[in-house]
Amino acid sequence: MTDMVREYITTVLDKGIRLDGRKLDEFRNIEVEYGISAKSAEGSARVKIGRTEVVAGVKLEVGEPYADNPDEGTIVVNAELLPLSSRDFESGPPSIDSIELSRVIDRAIREGKGVNFKKLCIKKEEAMWMVMIDIYSINDDGNLFDAAGLVALAALKDAKFPKLTKDNKVDYGTKTTKNLPLEKLPISITVIKVGNHYLVDPSSEEEKILDARLTIGVLEDGTPCSMQKGGDNPLSLDEIDNMVELAVKKSKELRKVLK
């Protein structure tokens, strides 16, 4: 079955179009909605890319700083591929795909210095803010990587610190007007390679037949800040150049939807 799908998709790609009529470097329509769980979460958002939909929420907890970074807070990213969102996802402990997704999103935000960890320190060696980012798939129609990256940033943007009591306990009932120290927006862009073609924003059919996948975190000035290769086939240096170039170009478009 996959072979037939693959043959059909590549035949059409050779003509420069995709099954759904998009150009190879064209995203589906993107929608961002903020505050979808405003009563419960400190920050929340929904992102739709075509029919793919993800939601994310930010909860803030107070923890003890790690010994190796006593004056820093931290982020924890958790992504769940809900069985609600696709017949391919199963209940049970986190699958390897959801772990990879969590870690790729974490890496882009962490390595791109999206959140200033120093500003999450409450008191050196004693108390820090832990920014818990939980991402859930609602409908998987391909490209959960970029949707998850975008929704994590949107939820961070939406978040306000809750009030802190004198003994450093969180008063969840009282939100302040203070935003999180979100200083940069590292945008995740996934480029896939099918045959000799490079595609952005893969559909679920295209994901099933890809040769290689590269997810790249890109900063505002176009500098890549994180990368993760996936797929079963290798890439040459030139191919990686092409994919990075395409990702940097597309990141400008995605950045605009968060403005």
Partner: protein, 234 residues
């Protein structure tokens, strides 16, 4: 000590504001969203599909399998740890029991109908909102049904019998009665009570819940019609 008004200004027999939508997860076989007050539930149905391991199969009819989950950020206060808890497992079970009496799974021997319920935001009444959403999702999936199931909590707050409790009211040492009705059949398919109630109060609370469910049912039917009569059909 009777109170005159409820914390959010509602009448004793008044539901919170509701919203229902069918087909919110296009890739599922059936799906629905139900919002009541600030509680938001999304449900999706997959199946009937083959059930593995095969030891769980029933050779006479299909099996219904429900899974209830609160998103980690959906609670007021601390983050909810992801993964099943004793509470979520029990709610998954009562969701199954609430829905099963209206389903005809006799043609689906060896198969399973999976129902997934996710809570995006919570403010009391989450299991009821989940059951209401799941019932619409099952209808959307085309599973043969004798009736829809509608669900709401009634309760006793400071001596008053009230409909559709908020979190604030639940926390006031209230009696909380979560119940589900198949209103056309006139039957209760789910009943849980936390707290004390006299026989008379219980009867009154259930009558009130029944009225509430009839109102919810109207909205469920409207939401289903909106999808299928509106001509938009995935």
């Amino acid at each position: 000590m009777a109170i005159e008004k409820r914390t959010d200004g509602r009448k004793f027999d008044q539901l919170r504001e509701m919203e229902a939508k069918v087909g919110v997860v296009p890739r599922a076989d059936g799906s629905a969203m139900f919002k009541i007050g600030k509680t938001i539930a999304v449900a999706a149905v997959y199946g009937p599909r083959e059930l593995y391991p095969s030891a769980f199969q029933n050779p006479e009819r299909g099996v219904l399998r429900c899974n209830y989950n609160m998103m980690a950020f959906s609670g007021s206060g601390n983050r909810v740890r992801p993964g099943p808890s004793r509470r979520s497992k029990e709610i998954s079970l009562v969701t199954e029991k609430a829905l099963l009496p209206v389903l005809d799974l006799s043609n689906y021997a060896g198969s399973v109908v999976d129902v997934f319920v996710e809570l995006i935001q919570t403010d009391a009444g989450t299991r009821c909102a989940g059951i209401t959403a799941a019932s619409m999702a099952l209808a959307d999936a085309g599973i043969p049904m004798k009736d829809l199931v509608s669900s709401v909590a009634a309760g006793i707050v400071h001596g008053n019998v009230v409909l559709d409790l908020t979190k604030e009211e639940e926390d006031m040492e209230a009696t909380d009665i979560a119940t589900s009705f198949a209103t056309r059949l006139g039957k209760i398919t789910h009943l849980q009570m936390d707290g004390e109630a006299s026989a008379k109060d219980l009867r009154n609370a259930l009558e009130l819940a029944k009225k509430g469910c009839e109102e919810i049912k109207k909205l469920q039917v409207k939401a289903l019609k909106e999808k299928y009569e509106g001509g938009k059909n995935d």
